[in-house]
Every structure is written in structure tokens, then in C-alpha cells.
């Protein structure tokens, strides 16, 4: 047993700090002595596949999109849970069966509601 059994953690911390900081210092020195920065409006612009970006990135979505969220839950997320449910159906305890049934009924209610609202009609 060495007298400083936790010394290696201190050494490890030092190396862990030096490892990312050294390249940054080297890059800074390189910029300082060899390659002067040459920024520009075009160079610093937002990258959008070469197209000029329009407007702000932080936009708000309309609240009407909640319909899509509900339909997505019913037809996509539900299917993800239905497949393992169907596979493990015979071995399920009664509690798990009731839990998945509640989940299905909740989404079914959403489907009935969306159907009644006419969201599933092709041409509105």
C-alpha cells in the first residue's frame, strides 16, 4: 500500500485537463503567429446548404398542429407498444394486461374523437 493511494486520481485529473487544453493553446498560438483570421459576412453566415437563410431559427409552431401530434401517437407510437404486447400476450400477468388496455383505450378515445372531428377525411 503506497502512502498516497489516491495520488493517481490527481495525476489523472491533471492529464485530463491538459489533454483538451493543449490543442487549444497550440491552435491559438498558430493563429497568433502564422494564420491571421480572415472572417467575412458570407463566411460567418448560417450554413444552410449554400442557400441564404431566411428569418429566425427560433420560430413557434401553430397550436393547430396538435392534431398531427394526436394522430402520430395513435398510428405510430401505439404500434411500437402493440408489437411487444402481442408477442408477450400469453405470458402477461393481469396487471400488465390492464395497464396496456388502459393505454390502448386512451388512444382509441383519441382516434374516435379525431374521426368524429373529421380529421381523417382525405379532402377537407
Amino acid at each position: 500500500m503506497t502512502p498516497h493511494s489516491y495520488l493517481f486520481i490527481v495525476i489523472f485529473l491533471g492529464v485530463a485537463l491538459l489533454f483538451p487544453i493543449m490543442p487549444l493553446i497550440l491552435a491559438w498560438m498558430w493563429r497568433r503567429f502564422f494564420q491571421p483570421p480572415r472572417p467575412g459576412a458570407e463566411k460567418n453566415a448560417t450554413y444552410e446548404c449554400g442557400v441564404e437563410s431566411i428569418g429566425e431559427a427560433q420560430i413557434q409552431f401553430r397550436s393547430q398542429y396538435y392534431l398531427y401530434a394526436i394522430i402520430f401517437l395513435i398510428f405510430d407510437v401505439e404500434a411500437v407498444f402493440l408489437v411487444p404486447f402481442a408477442v408477450a400476450f400469453t405470458g402477461l400477468p393481469i396487471g400488465a394486461f390492464v395497464a396496456i388496455l388502459v393505454f390502448l383505450l386512451l388512444l382509441l378515445e383519441g382516434l374516435v374523437w379525431a374521426w368524429g372531428k373529421g380529421c381523417l377525411n382525405w379532402a377537407r
Binding site: 502564422f34 480572415r38 467575412g40
Partner: protein
Amino acid sequence: MSDIDEGLRSELQRQGIWVTSMQELYNWGRKNSIWPLQFGLACCAIEMIATAASRYDIARFGGEVFRPSPRQADLMIVAGTVTKKMAPQIVRLYNQMPDPKYVISMGACAISGGPFKQGYNVLKGIDRYIPVDVYIPGCPPRPEALLHAFMELQRKIDEQKLTGPRKAEHLDPDQPSEFPVPAFGAHDLEPAANADVFRPPTMERT
């Protein structure tokens, strides 16, 4: 930084001491990890993809990582016909790449418009707007030709100077870091060519 005497260097190398300069180390690192920008324009792009795939394998030369963002790319391979609709985007992508950056003009279309030169919508060569380092003729050039162009580019990078009056352009703060992006005019791109990088060939009549 200064050039090492060749005789002294070989003498030291015989004794097992490897001497290098900052410039050589810098260029050696740069030329062996050229990351191309990942975009293709036309049929030349298929050859470029073949070059990147396992049979030809551009990774052997350090160019395996095709970057989907210009911020991480060193090399722009203009692979295919540049339409006038596409030209502003290409110049903008070139502008957004960090220095040092290089351009390979791949195929007849990127050089001059190629077989589509007469088309109203075809740019007659990408070198009208951005400086091109290596041209590869061919329609399309085979992957070997692209590899050859890549090696030529490596040779060019290897010869770039870090200091002195003839140092590389990207190290000079007075050189432009951006090139003007052409705009869609009433009939053509405006301007039709960047006068700083492109001089139309003139025919001398005697």
C-alpha cells in the same frame, strides 16, 4: 523555419536522427488529411463516389472523410455540370469553408461547360467565380484520374510556404477570404464572371 541544408539532413538521417521544419510538418499533416466536401452535381459525382468506395478507396490518401458541412471541409470537388441555378450556392459554400481550402474541378462540365456548353442554363466553367487548383479533364474522369488530381493537389500543398514573401495565399491577411456570390439577373448571372479570378482567353489575330 528556415530551410535545412540537404547534406546535413541526410548525414543526420544516416545517424538515425530525423530533422524536419515546422513548415514541412505542417504541410505533411495537411496534405495527408484532406477532407472533401460531400456534394455531387451530376454524373461525375458517381465517379467521385466510386473513388471514395472500397475499390478505389481515397482513404489511402487521407481523403476518406467526406464532410457534409463546409465548416469541416478542406477540399471542394466540383463534380459535374454547374448550372446557373446552382452556381451561387457553390460559391457560397466555398466562402463558408475555412482556410486553407482547395478546389478540384472535375470533368469537362466543371471546367468549361463540356458537352452542355451551348445550354442557356449551364455555367461555362466554375473557375469564373472561384479559384481552381486542379483541373481534371474527362467525361466523366475515371476514379484513377480523380486520385491523380488528389495527388497533384497533395504535391501543391506540400510546396506551399509558411513564411516569406511567397507564402501561401491563405496566410496573407490582405488576400480576400470571400468571393462575391453571383446573383440571378434578368438574363444571366450577374456578374457573368469574377474579374479578379477569371480572365477570358483572348485570341490574338495577326
